[in-house]
Symmetry: C2
Subunit: 207 residues, 2 copies
DNA sequence: GGTTGCACCGAACGTTCGATCGAACGGCGC
DNA sequence: GCGCCGTTCGATCGAACGTTCGGTGCAACC
């Protein structure tokens, strides 16, 4: 089904990859289309055959990356049942993709607000899926906690998404160790905070 | 000692506050000095009486904010001794300042890479202090863990600093609840991951 | 009351920005 | 050999950018 990849597709992917590198290094608004032309080996005007505006270019990078990440996540989640394993899969899925595609992941994390209008709405729809999935897993992991679910969910994604600000492949552990570290901290931390039964009134106890 | 605040100081602070709002809303590179002139009520050229360049303006915002945050942190840390309390103080210090100064905190978190040269070096020096302080606390909290200290430290700051991407005061809990949630997750998660004594070889046990 | 210096501004500079336009290239069907 | 169409590019546009320059008002001081 992916056998019909034309030279057009290949070149578009190359342009998106080069653009992600430029956006990651200089930031979206500080990067110029001329920078991308230089990095991709295509002329300034030639680029506009592949996208209609700079903003659409950013959208293509983000939407494609989030789509890939989401597809992989949903496929991998089907293979496990315990919430602990699901959370491990989610964290590892993110971090593995991150370490392998650092430029793209930085653009996805750091340039979230640089899109406007329908571009932003479409990307936010995909991001919402990630939030919902994590929320469901946390709820399975510890249904009886008094920790705020929304705060806990974004605390989790904060741990993960902040990576682009500090991670350096040559000195830091690989993605598996990162995922293991964050998974252990978060599972232990979230699962360990159950509501203290001694604090519950009799009315709350099962009759 | 702070009684010698001149009208110049007052106006500079007002300009910095207005600039932080503009930078937070539009992003540093996407915001123009003209936007800041409009937001602060000072003419375009009049602004340059208070700073020499747009980049220095960003530096002033970041350096001043980090300085305040660091001063408060070190003062509050002196009042507690248990590592659990120290970590709680650190998290609460960050989040309280964040919620009270959202624009400034967003600029500090999101525009870290927008500075160059000596500006960036000076800001990074202050940020390093935060990393070192957190690392020392985590080490006191659980000296026997096999969790990577650097990864754990940035996981903690990721939880905290990511706040600017999702927090909305009108729907989310206040800073105290945020701090309590994150503190409980992280303390339980980090302290709970001790090296399993059953996994240790005899050579590692005290003789 | 002339001089100094701080605070501030309108106008303009040179440069870079995202985007467009018309022309030209090359392979393929006819 | 000719026309077509997908692809590419040099030349160029108006707008916006950060910064600078010459100058103004005004309070303080001698």
């Amino acid at each position: 089904m992916r056998l019909d990849r034309t030279p057009y597709d290949e070149k578009l992917d190359a342009i998106l990859a080069a653009s992600a590198r430029v956006f990651a290094e200089k930031g979206y608004h500080n990067a110029s289309i001329r920078d991308i032309a230089r990095a991709s080996g295509v002329s300034l005007s030639g680029l506009y055959y592949y996208f209609q505006s700079k903003e659409e270019l950013l959208y293509l990078i983000q939407d494609h990356g989030l789509g890939t990440l989401l597809d992989r996540l949903e496929e991998r989640l089907q293979r496990v049942v315990r919430p602990e394993d699901k959370l491990r899969v989610l964290i590892r899925n993110h971090l593995t993709y991150f370490v392998s595609n650092m430029a793209q992941m930085k653009v996805m994390s750091h340039e979230a607000d640089s899109l406007t209008g329908e571009f932003k709405a479409q990307v936010n729809r995909k991001k919402r899926r990630f939030v919902d999935i994590a929320g469901e897993i946390l709820n399975e992991l510890n249904p009886n906690t008094d920790l705020d679910l929304r705060v806990s969910t974004f605390a989790l994604y904060g741990m993960i998404n902040w990576l682009y600000t500090w991670y350096r492949a040559e000195r830091d552990p690989d993605a598996d160790v990162l995922a293991d570290t964050m998974t252990r901290i978060f599972i232990e931390g979230y699962r360990g905070n159950k509501v203290d039964p001694a604090m519950m009134s009799e009315a709350m106890l099962p009759s």
